[in-house]
């Protein structure tokens, strides 16, 4: 098996979660990389929707911004931004929302707003974008994030986007319709919500990763599933397609080394 990086493992593991034919609302960055890898490997019929308006986007290279022209060129259609949020998302047409975030807690709530108090923030983050409504109304949510103690925190300073709120039945009680986050894919492992408590539990460790490494990079006392599995390492094809995609992207954006 070829060598691969932890970041490649994360992207491949996330891509595998996206079924063929799935209608997916894609966030920019890591989610977009994973969703396009899925489309270029096992899920050629996945329908990718970006909040800027493209539906059925098939970009040649990864977009650097959510509204890159390449997203529009090969899309099935391009609609206005209000239409995306009103007819397609709120209208209930999205199977999977694919998101990233700056911070996450044990119930997969996300913070992309502030570190510190809202009115006197230590760090002002970009804000909500489309995430609160995507996470509320897509059939389910996949979250992809590099694992770090500053990102996987015990308590969020701000809940931008509701995951499973305070756990148990709190998400449903709040009136949120979709299933919410069903998996969090990191560079070390895959976490899934416990069926009862909805707390994130490590269900899969990536090859070579130990439970202690995951503990060290998680800000809460993280739990592990009894039947803890090992993620399958990336195949030659997955790695080749991913590397080609990233290379094309760097060349196209002039951001290559």
């Amino acid at each position: 098996m070829a060598d691969y990086t932890t970041s490649e493992m994360m992207t491949v593991a996330a891509a595998r979660m996206l079924g063929n034919g799935t209608v997916c609302f894609v966030g920019i960055g890591l989610p977009s990389t994973a969703a396009n890898l899925a489309r270029l490997t096992h899920a050629p019929e996945a329908v990718l929707i970006y909040e800027s308006g493209p539906i059925g986007a098939k970009p040649e290279v990864l977009p650097l911004s959510i509204g890159d022209g390449d997203l529009a060129v090969n899309a099935d259609t391009v609609v206005s931004t209000p239409e995306i949020f009103r007819y397609w998302l709120q209208g209930g047409r999205i199977d999977v929302g694919f998101l990233g975030g700056a911070q996450i807690d044990r119930f997969a709530n996300l913070n992309t707003t502030v570190i510190g108090p809202y009115d006197a923030p230590k760090v002002r983050l970009p804000g909500a974008g489309g995430a609160p409504e995507i996470a509320a109304m897509a059939g389910e949510i996949l979250i992809i994030m590099s694992q770090d103690k500053r990102a996987f925190v015990d308590k969020l300073d701000f809940i931008t986007t509701a995951g499973h709120l305070t756990g148990g039945g709190s998400r449903q009680a709040a009136g949120l319709t979709g299933k919410g986050p069903t998996a969090v894919i990191t560079d070390l492992c895959i976490m899934r919500p416990d069926p009862e408590t909805r707390e994130l539990v490590v269900t899969d460790l990536h090859p070579g990763v130990t439970a202690d490494q995951v503990r060290e990079k998680t800000g809460w006392d993280v739990r592990f599933a009894n039947d803890l599995r090992e993620t399958g390492s990336p195949s030659e094809t997955e790695l080749m397609v991913l590397r080609d995609l990233l290379k094309r992207t760097a060349e196209a954006h002039g951001t290559g080394k």
Binding site: I66, A72, P126, L176
Partner: protein, 285 residues
């Protein structure tokens, strides 16, 4: 009626101190040239509305033109932070900036409500988010028919909306295509609208369902080639990703930002001269 004029005249006549201004364009067709002209003419106390503040509002905020910002995602797309926006919110430089923060869905709906002549927008949104705790302009109402709880936000009704488009004809009818974002809604919601275009042509050659803004909903049209740079204009030029990356360094520091703006914007007569200076400096301070 659309007045065909220079950008300086359009801003001079239709965009005033204290106005609520929406400059829209979702990554695509961001009206950068128009924002530079607002900075040159030293407009102040503006309420700036925009889903993604981007570099365009980073510049206006850093130059002290804005009193208040209404937004839903404030980053440098694909790069990281907007440093001038952050400095204003975190440290109050060059002065304190009031913010009204939303989600994209809410702000997109608020433009639709504004264009529809309604006082507020209603959506299924914000549930479980902390945003309503900090933004008093997000409220919840019950559906009069089913009782379902829904979010309500005030409509966006700008004094003036500014957009960039690909083409206008000589009467001032405007054609826009590709990722059209919320531009049509933003224009229809506003009292006045200023449009910069890549070119003015004899015939728009627009299909029946094309996104055309008729001349009589537009106040002024100015021909400004490359007027969206470093954003892009579909069919004309691509996004200048290098500039977005370079902006991270230029804007990180107050002094380097100020020097850059003085050299490239305040010391230039117009967008054409700015483009010349930019070519010479290579974007460096």
């Amino acid at each position: 009626m659309a007045k065909i004029c220079s950008l300086a005249e359009a801003i001079g006549e239709f965009l005033r101190d204290g106005d609520t201004v929406a400059m829209e364009g979702f990554t695509h067709l961001i009206p950068h040239a128009a924002a530079h002209e607002v900075i040159r003419q030293k407009r102040k106390d503006l309420t700036l509305v925009r889903m993604t503040p981007d570099l365009i509002y980073d510049q206006l905020i850093g130059m002290g033109c804005a009193r208040r910002l209404v937004f839903s995602w404030g980053g440098n797309p694909g790069v990281g932070s907007l440093h001038r926006f952050r400095d204003a919110v975190e440290k109050g430089w060059p002065h304190k900036l009031e913010i009204e923060e939303h989600s994209h869905a809410a702000l997109a709906n608020a433009y639709v409500a504004g264009a529809s002549g309604l006082p507020f927008a209603v959506l299924r949104g914000y549930t479980g988010s902390d945003l309503p705790k900090h933004n008093p302009r997000i409220k919840f109402i019950n559906c009069p028919f089913t009782g379902e709880q829904l979010a309500a936000v005030p409509s966006v009704r700008p004094d003036v909306t500014v957009i960039h488009a690909q083409k206008a004809d000589r009467k001032g009818n405007v054609l826009i295509w590709g990722i059209v974002g919320v531009q049509k809604e933003a224009v229809m919601a506003a009292k006045r609208a200023i449009v910069t275009v890549e070119e003015i042509v004899d015939d728009l050659e627009a299909d029946a369902n094309a996104c055309v803004l008729p001349y009589w909903v537009v106040s002024a049209v100015a021909e400004v080639p490359m007027g969206a740079h470093p954003s892009y204009a579909h069919g004309y030029y691509e996004r200048d990703n290098r500039f977005y990356t370079a902006w991270d360094d230029i804007s990180r520091d107050r002094d380097s930002f100020t020097k850059w703006m003085e050299r490239h914007v305040l010391a230039t007569r117009d967008w054409a001269e700015y483009r010349d200076v930019l070519a010479k400096t290579g974007g460096k301070v």
